[in-house]
Symmetry: C2
Subunit: 220 residues, 2 copies
DNA sequence: TTATTATGACCGACCGGTCGGTCAAAAACA
DNA sequence: TGTTTTTGACCGACCGGTCGGTCATAATAA
């Protein structure tokens, strides 16, 4: 019944990965389906056998991208390194990934624009939240370990979600600024400055006194 | 000899402002020149009397946007409020501006994509740095005042550029996350959390001891 | 043959940009 | 003052080209 037994799942992912690289090269809207087809080594019509529309394709490409990140990041979860080193390693890795291929952010911008224009779209792949979810998860895990190890202040726990979210938002923001003008500042230095400042804030002060700033949220 | 002597400067700005609103509505690439013309209440061809290309138009629109921000922000420079209040006011204003018209970020994304694709373009309007320059300037000024007033640690001074840059990057990043998924978190709360944490870090500790984290940059 | 997969020629919509021409105001003239 | 001339602002029909998406056909395997 099935003549050419094709693993649709796998081929979809192949196409999505090809799309990811092309989108990252020229941006989403500026990339034509023909270019994607060429990059994937297939005919243009074939893409539509696997994806209903160009929008569906960038959704899949984004998902593949997130999965890549996730795979590169999760080893840090159950590492036996101490939390501080893990945190620094995580962000050194992020920085490196950014410097190695700065233009992947174009994919992020592309999907962001689509979601902004059509919020309902965000639901199609579980909400735009999923993009940053894996990294946030790892960060929270590290924070929890840090608290358990007595390195971080206990109040870090109740705010770990907010801390993680802000951290990721910062990296995205500074990354966007960086690709927009790479000569303006040193990305690694800037990220590192943020991180060390954060660590100092989270850490239990050397004298055993509480470090300020993570006591709890303040509303105004 | 001249029929209706027109203030080209002013009309350019008019068109740019119209373009700004339309770009903010549908995004740069998805907006046609006809739509801009309609929004500006002029013919399509007229736009090309004032701008050489669509790219030139978004550059002008961005400049106008930055100028708007600048005008709304500079009063905070020479205010006689204390630095802490000024800082909080500044970010309350930013948050409000964001919540009032979240989609202006589409313009930022549009110009970012263009600059990433063609870095030489960034030079055309003085480098992409100029977009955030006014806010960074205000922040640095506040920080300096804070140090002078004895509120902030002296070491804040030598890092004020980095602090300001990170602050702006964070706001951009969290803003982008927010418009991408407004239901995921409370923007004001999140920005406020960051700000209070930062203030705590910058502040001279109540006991007169140095607050950690702004001692200087660390390279790794 | 039959069912499934692959393909690229094709389509209609649309877009950025151009261009010849219109129009009204100002200058020049009477 | 009235009339003619000049000129730049303004316009939208139009053009070359591109794009997302379709579909009739070919290829392939059962």
């Amino acid at each position: 019944m099935t003549p050419k037994i094709i693993n649709r799942e796998e081929k979809s992912r192949e196409i999505a990965l090809a799309a990811l690289t092309v989108f990252a090269e020229h941006g989403f809207e500026s990339t034509s389906m023909s270019q994607v087809a060429e990059a994937a080594g297939i005919g243009k019509g074939t893409i539509y056998e696997y994806f209903h529309s160009k929008t569906d394709l960038i959704i899949a490409a984004t998902a593949a991208w997130v999965q890549n990140i996730e795979e590169g990041i999760t080893p840090l979860l159950d590492s036996d390194m101490d939390p501080l080193t893990r945190l620094r390693t995580l962000f050194a890795a992020s920085t490196k990934a950014f410097l190695d291929d700065p233009k992947v952010i174009l994919v992020f911008l592309g999907i962001s624009q689509l979601v902004i224009k059509d919020p309902a779209l965000g639901q199609r792949f579980g909400g735009a939240e999923v993009i940053s979810a894996p990294i946030r998860k790892v960060i929270c895990s590290i924070l929890a370990d840090g608290v358990a190890a007595g390195l971080f202040h206990v109040h870090v726990l109740e705010n770990s979600e907010s801390i993680a979210r802000n951290l990721v938002a910062f990296v995205d923001g500074i990354g966007l600024h960086y690709v927009t003008n790479p000569h303006a500042f040193d990305l690694a230095e800037q990220i590192n400055f943020y991180l060390e400042q954060l660590i100092a804030t989270l850490s239990v002060a050397p004298n055993g006194d509480r470090s300020p700033g993570v006591r709890g949220k303040r509303n105004r």
